[in-house]
């Protein structure tokens, strides 16, 4: 039996194509995922992301606990409401999950973790909590839904639909604010301006209807994936998992190895020598679409592999993220085997697209 979000009926009412995503029945598209993609790049789209888990860490010493539990350093969060992207690691440096942590106040941090990994993440956090900070509470907020509103017109359309949270209009990127029981953050997973609203189920269902009236386009997981790929953002289970360290997943920038603090996985990462790095690929030849698990040949003594590949609606060509030998340089031409053909691709530095603009050389 698939789990359903509070917006499930709203998706069916729009004839969404529904799929099993990590045990949740979620919309993959509402017709054309390419149209949905363009709506987010050029106007505004909304995504039901209520399958993701909200975990509130509360109590004295929450910052100390997260300083140890996360690979990025929560000491970067000094102003109330600020957000930080981080990996959570095993002792061996493998990635348990990637997450966003919001600093509400010294006794309250909010974590947003992936749906498919939520149970193991919470079990891991509870185990760490029990041994390091037994007085902290970790609460999974099953009473809340989450809606992402993304695109250059997301702000104006969101305020029009929901004037009561207009004080969030002054939010800077990667920050958040509480308005009663409604939490609004200027974050997202598309490479565009946008917001994520976390609120009680009925509030989100009402907001969805108001945003529909404001011509915000409903977007499914299909568009979410092409948007994040163009934005060069990693997806758990594709770019990284428990067998990959963040240093080989293009996430070294999220790991703080400079400060004196200890964190889970640090000892291994300090001496870890990457043999792979994560790059972008832009397909030069026609003949197919780059897909995860295709082999990348570069002339190095070992092969690379595509971790995520798709057709990019913005670039109108196939693009990918790939883990390749560290010797492979940006702008190198590599070869990908698709069916029986060997096709040339250019190595580029992600992201491919930011704020509606193509930022790689085609």
């Amino acid at each position: 039996m698939l789990k359903k979000t509070a917006l499930n009926a709203a998706h069916h009412a729009l004839n969404a194509r529904m799929v099993d995503f990590g045990g949740w029945e979620m919309p993959v598209n509402y017709g054309s995922q390419i149209d949905e993609h363009h709506a987010v790049r050029c106007d505004a789209g909304m995504f039901d992301v209520s399958h993701m888990a909200v975990v509130d860490a509360q109590g004295a010493g929450t910052r100390d606990f997260l300083r140890y539990a996360l690979a990025n350093n929560v000491d970067k969060l000094q102003d109330g409401g600020r957000a930080l992207y981080s990996c959570m690691l095993r002792e061996n440096g493998g990635v348990i999950d990637d997450l966003i942590v919001y600093f509400i106040n010294e006794t309250f941090f909010r974590l947003i973790i992936n749906a498919a990994t939520a149970e193991k993440d919470i079990a891991w956090l509870e185990q760490l909590r029990n041994s390091h900070s037994p007085h902290l509470s970790l609460t999974r907020r099953a009473d809340l839904s989450m809606l992402a509103v993304q695109g250059p017109h997301a702000a104006t359309k969101l305020w029009r639909a929901f004037p009561s949270i207009e004080k969030a209009s002054s939010l800077i990127s990667f920050s958040s604010i509480f308005d009663g029981d409604c939490f609004v953050a200027r974050t997202g997973y598309t490479g565009e301006d946008g917001f994520e609203v976390i609120a009680p189920h009925q509030t989100i269902v009402d907001l969805w209807q108001k945003l529909l009236q404001a011509q915000v386009k409903p977007c499914g997981l299909g568009a979410r994936d092409t948007l994040r790929l163009e934005a060069g953002m990693a997806l758990y289970g594709q770019e990284m998992d428990e067998t990959i360290t963040p240093l080989e997943a293009g996430l070294a920038w999220t790991v703080d190895l400079k400060s004196a603090r200890d964190f889970v996985g640090k000892a291994v990462l300090l001496t870890f020598k990457p043999t792979y790095r994560l790059v972008g690929l832009s397909l030069l030849d026609s003949g197919g679409v780059l897909r995860a698990h295709q082999i990348v040949r570069s002339g190095a003594s070992y092969d690379g592999e595509i971790t995520s590949g798709t057709f990019s609606p913005t670039l109108n060509r196939s693009i990918a993220l790939a883990r390749v030998p560290v010797a492979v340089a940006d702008n190198d031409i590599v070869h990908v085997v698709i069916r029986n053909k060997t096709l040339a691709a250019r190595v580029v530095k992600p992201p491919f697209v930011r704020h509606g603009k193509i930022i790689i050389d085609l």
Binding site: R17, S286, F311, P313
Partner: protein, 128 residues
């Protein structure tokens, strides 16, 4: 609900087949198939002159999401491919029965009778 025209024949792998006036068979993918695949972005078609066996994988269609093989609904020789569709795969999403992919001169003109009719195909996709 997806469209399933009564005058066509169907396969369990979601191709449709239409008998043309000269006896050749036009082949495409069904409306149900295009909706399941999503936005189509790439098509690889067989070469004209290629001899196909029944149910042989002979073309590839890729959506944003995934790649899928297209199978010959019956044995025959490829006599024509649709270059317009090759250059604009999205036309299949717009009208799956207008956008034929290739035409086959069948080895056995009666082989088409062995394919599913509209009612049988509708029953099959209803069970999926």
């Amino acid at each position: 609900m997806s469209q399933i025209p009564n005058d066509l024949k169907y396969t369990d792998s979601h191709e449709w087949a239409r008998v043309e006036q000269n006896g050749n068979i036009s082949v495409g993918i069904t409306d149900h198939a295009q909706a399941a695949l999503g936005d189509l972005v790439f098509i690889e078609l067989p070469e004209v002159g290629r001899a196909l066996t029944d149910k042989e994988a002979c073309a590839v269609i890729e959506s944003v999401k995934a790649a899928s093989d297209i199978y010959a609904p019956l044995a025959g020789t490829v006599v024509e491919v649709n270059d317009t569709v090759r250059g604009a795969p999205e036309t299949i999403n717009q009208d799956a029965y207008e956008a034929w992919l290739f035409k086959i001169k069948p080895v056995d003109a009666k082989a088409i009778d062995g394919l599913l009719d509209a009612a049988a195909y509708e029953a099959m996709i209803g069970e999926e």
